[in-house]
């Protein structure tokens, strides 16, 4: 019997890169991408409807379309990230990945480095288009907040899909649409736990009577990062012990 050849293992960076490439190919070759692009047109439709109304208010256009964009957080992030993470874990393809000499966290992170920025970019472009068409107030901070918020929602959704992979989309939809939006409507400190609320605060847009929302942008950013970190830690712990 010949002596076995020396073995190498991929670095974490390599593994993340390979998974990112695989994820990108799958997203753009799948059918889901068409649904995602079509759905991303919703803020523009809203902006067009507002433009045709008699009392045009750029701030109102911005806040209204932001609400639609935030609703899209709840739909697009689960569709893109929830399905990519949950379907993988729920289906049997995980056995290919987990039998390879790479840490499991690199597989999750490899997906996230593509899907989170993609979701963020998509929603930023969708909002910018709607503001341009509807004549809304364009604010660099608000646009960045949408991108950042969408990325954070993607991370949370990926974590939820890791915990409950067989119903990854359903659980993440439920969380963002019901729990998170519900928390956003709660008074006082409970609303701090809402991703949508913190994104609104981070956007810094005047609300209703031109009063800016309570809380600082920095505080909101820290809340978002903290919430994502907690979910990510839970997901990674789950991933470490999960069996295929």
């Amino acid at each position: 019997m010949s002596a076995p050849a020396p073995r190498t293992v991929p670095s974490a960076g390599d593994a993340i890169g390979i998974m990112a490439g695989l994820t990108l190919k799958r997203v753009f070759r799948g059918k889901l991408v068409w649904f995602v692009f079509l759905t991303a047109g919703l803020p523009t439709v809203t902006a067009l409807a507002m433009r045709s109304s008699s009392a045009h208010d750029p701030v109102k256009v911005a806040t209204s379309t932001l609400s639609v964009v935030q609703l899209l957080f709840a739909i697009l992030a689960p569709m893109l990230t929830g399905s990519a993470v949950g379907d993988e874990l729920g289906s049997k393809t995980t056995s290919y990945l987990w039998s390879r000499p790479v840490p499991r966290w690199t597989i999750l992170v490899g997906k996230l480095v593509v899907l989170a920025p993609l979701t963020g970019l998509l929603l930023m472009v969708a909002w910018i288009a709607s503001l341009a068409i509807g004549g809304g107030l364009m604010s660099g901070q608000a646009i960045a907040a949408v991108g950042f918020g969408a990325m954070i929602v993607s991370v949370v959704v990926a974590a939820i899909a890791t915990i409950g992979p067989k119903h990854g989309i359903a659980f993440s939809l439920l969380y963002v649409l019901v729990i998170d939006l519900g928390l956003a409507l709660m008074p006082g400190s409970l609303s701090q736990l809402s991703l949508v609320h913190q994104t609104t605060v981070l956007a810094g847009l005047p609300q209703g009577s031109a009063e800016p929302p309570l809380g600082s942008a920095l505080g909101a950013a820290l809340w978002l990062v903290g919430l994502a970190a907690i979910w990510l830690v839970v997901a990674l712990r789950q991933l470490r012990t999960r069996e295929a």
């Binding site: 019997m1 010949s2 002596a3 076995p4 050849a5 020396p6 073995r7 190498t8 293992v9 991929p10 670095s11 974490a12 390599d14 593994a15 390979i18 998974m19 490439g21 695989l22 190919k25 799958r26 070759r29 799948g30 289906s91 049997k92 393809t93 056995s95 290919y96 990945l97 987990w98 039998s99 390879r100 000499p101 790479v102 840490p103 012990t241 069996e243 295929a244």
Partner: protein, 322 residues
């Protein structure tokens, strides 16, 4: 864990050591109290569906952790030790794959994740696909592949990184005759190249075509291990069923009834089913019926390939003997 990119130390010793290993899925038993050592070569994991073959293979691949006992591959725990998996090639039983990818992309990606550097992965993948006869289809998406093509591609993902230890879970299930011949030839070639291979199957003759060494499992337990012919003798103690189609089944039955190895004869329209205690003698007698007595036989099948029934018989037999 070894620093990424550095060659791993390759140490000697047995490929697999399983010590009183059990695995439960909640209340459901996967494998129970398995103790087994695999030094090398090709070993067939034989047992009916639900025997625990896939569970044992997944334990060796590092996809499952033992509930009790230990399992070591090259001296390491494959569930915890990421590095040892670089030496393992695992082909799952299922056909699920990333259907959006071409066969070449799929095998290249898997090779890179197994540690093949980017500048060599494409060639390694092409070589692996060529070995399994998939060169002509390697640019096609996996989505449109037949079962045989999927099995071939799966085998390519398993061998592209040149592992020392291959785990092939039911690699011949559902494949067409040509793919079957090719896959068996490929496994034989890998064995000749010095690889340690575990092949699971629920069909005895499939395992027999690949190796003489087998581990027989039944209901999560290790029923027997050793040479396939010894197991075959055990299995042959159970009456073997042969269905013979003939225009004159009664003449055939009259001849076979005169022998001492026939346990039962059942008539069907244009056929007779013979239960024999000695299959080899029975086949000889059937040949004699055709050649010496001129009794025509149009088809001959052995429907008794249900290992579950055979193993049920063996365990009942063992209980009765004890």
């Amino acid at each position: 864990m070894t620093a990424a990119g550095e060659p791993l130390a390759v140490v000697g010793g047995p490929t697999v050591v399983v010590d009183t290993c059990s695995k439960w899925y909640g209340a459901v038993l996967g494998v129970s109290d398995i103790s087994w050592k695999l030094e090398g070569g090709v070993v067939g994991l034989l047992g009916p569906n639900g025997a625990g073959k896939s569970t044992l293979i997944k334990l060796m691949a590092g996809l499952l952790a033992p509930s009790r006992g230990t399992l070591r591959v090259y001296g390491a725990d494959p569930f915890q030790d990421v590095d040892v998996r670089a030496r393992i090639g695992y082909a799952p039983e299922h056909e699920a794959a990333w259907d959006e990818l071409t066969a070449l992309e799929l095998v290249t990606t898997m090779a890179r994740l197994a540690g093949v550097p980017a500048n060599r992965a494409d060639k390694a993948a092409k070589d692996a696909l060529a070995q399994v006869g998939m060169t002509a289809s390697m640019q096609r998406p996996v989505r449109g592949f037949s079962k045989g093509m999927r099995q071939r591609t799966k085998l390519a993902t398993t061998i592209a990184h040149d592992p020392d230890f291959l785990l092939l879970d039911e690699p011949l299930t559902g494949v067409d005759p040509m793919a079957r011949i090719d896959i068996i030839a490929q496994i034989e070639a890998l064995a000749k190249a010095g690889k340690t291979i575990v092949v699971s199957s629920h069909v005895l003759y499939e395992v027999e075509a690949l190796t003489e060494d087998i581990l027989v499992m039944y209901r999560g337990q290790q029923l027997a291990s050793g040479n396939v012919y010894g197991i075959r003798q055990l299995i042959d103690r159970r009456p073997h069923t042969i269905r013979i189609e003939s225009p004159d089944p009664r003449a055939l039955a009259a001849m076979m009834a005169a022998t001492d190895h026939v346990a039962r004869l059942i008539f069907e329209r244009g056929a007779v089913i013979i239960e024999t205690r000695d299959p080899d003698r029975c086949y000889d007698d059937l040949s004699a019926a055709v050649l010496e007595r001129g009794i025509p036989i149009s088809a001959m099948t052995s429907p008794d390939n249900n290992l579950g029934a055979v193993f049920e018989y063996l365990t009942t037999d063992a209980r009765g003997a004890s």
